[in-house]
Amino acid sequence: MNYKAMTAIAAALTLPMAAFAEPDDDTLVVNDEIQMVTKTAAPAHLSDVMDEVMSGWHFRSDETQALQMDDFENPAMVFVDQAMEAWDTADGSEGKSCASCHEDVETSMKGVRAVYPKWNEQAGEVRTLAMQINDCRENQMGAKKWKYTGGDMAAMEALISVQSRGMPVNVAIDGPVQATWEKGKEMYYTRTGQLELSCANCHEDSYGMMIRADHLSQGQINGFPTYRLKNAKLNTVHARFKGCVRDTRAETYKPGSDDFIALELYVASRGNGLSVEGPSVRN
């Protein structure tokens, strides 16, 4: 942003701040075709703390919102194209590509993003999408794992997410995942770091308010991976969590750690009912 725009916004902000602060009522339709549910009744497990869950899309400026409404404008789509190529490209000792097992991504990956993280019976663990991708790479393809928050991983997550756009997030929170979910919940409400702030302080108690120049959203992850104008790349869920924890002047958790897996499951479940939006555009 140039200096002039910044001062203009600053001037607008210092006067009627409240006007800026409410999440808006715009409607998100992507490519004039995919109707997104961006506000809906909170899932039952949140009913004692909030009535409505909202996509982070509502908290962004009209210009940023517009970028997500048309795939030709959405800067994340070049990464989806890259991942499409990776999908068809053999890698590793087995000479296989994703397509060797899963064939057409549009059919085989439809609905997948919406239910992750989820329980993997065979492995006896809660799996994030990134873990599943790396499991395929290592154990099916004989290829090297991708970096958990790296560009290849983010792009593949975006490609997989696109196949579920518009479908409701629907992660399970009971049965074998319940203990992990409880742990994630505990983390969400724990006030960390020298600033002693929890996720809930900012994203449950204060969403809709300005914190310095940032308009606080509910911190939902239905739009991940997210293209951020700020760093001009796709951002993974764990990288975003890490940034938010760091901002409490705390020691962060590691991307891919059991801690962040639990937190991801819990945060994903707070968005149950919202549409899968990824890859979204944020600032």
Partner: protein
């Protein structure tokens, strides 16, 4: 003249830090969270306090509070109450307690404690994301707290 008195205050704060300064763990809060005694014995510098309140690297109080007196600083937040008139609503001792550790005044408040060095969960090394070792340096020094208090005391409703 102003410049001179500022440097003088800074020199004084430097020499005082051993002798007269109240360490974070020794601050005496009364039952309402107020702190009667100056943390340094050196009068706060309101002009410097204004800089600290507005600066992202220091207090960054405007992240959460709007302050009309600092309207030249871009982007004020709205998490906490507007600070206009804080000097009427609160005594100097109350303001000192609020800045040093607001949790002594408002139980469970979102406002961070600026003169607290341990008892944190996952304490970090400032904003690096790396682990920090307690006691951490307080976010503001004793004299910076006094300066902020002096600034807040000037915020009067006309």
């Amino acid at each position: 003249m102003k410049r001179l008195s500022l440097t003088l205050a800074m020199c004084l704060a430097g020499t005082m830090s051993q002798a007269g300064e109240v360490a974070p763990k020794d601050v005496q809060y009364n039952e309402d969270g107020a702190v009667a005694a100056s943390l340094t014995g050196v009068a706060g510098d309101a002009a410097n306090g204004a800089l600290i309140v507005g600066s992202k690297k220091k207090g960054n109080c405007v992240a959460c509070h709007a302050v009309t007196a600092l309207s030249d600083v871009p982007f004020h937040g709205e998490i906490g109450p507007m600070l206009d008139g804080a000097g009427d609503r609160w005594s100097e001792a109350e303001l000192r307690g609020l800045v040093a550790n607001a949790k002594m005044t408002f139980e469970g408040t979102m406002m961070p404690a600026f003169y607290k060095v341990d008892g944190f969960i996952r304490p970090g090394d400032a904003y690096t994301g790396k682990a920090g070792t307690e006691p951490l340096p307080p976010i503001l020094t004793a004299q910076e707290i006094e300066d902020v208090v002096a600034f807040l005391a000037t915020l009067k409703e006309e």
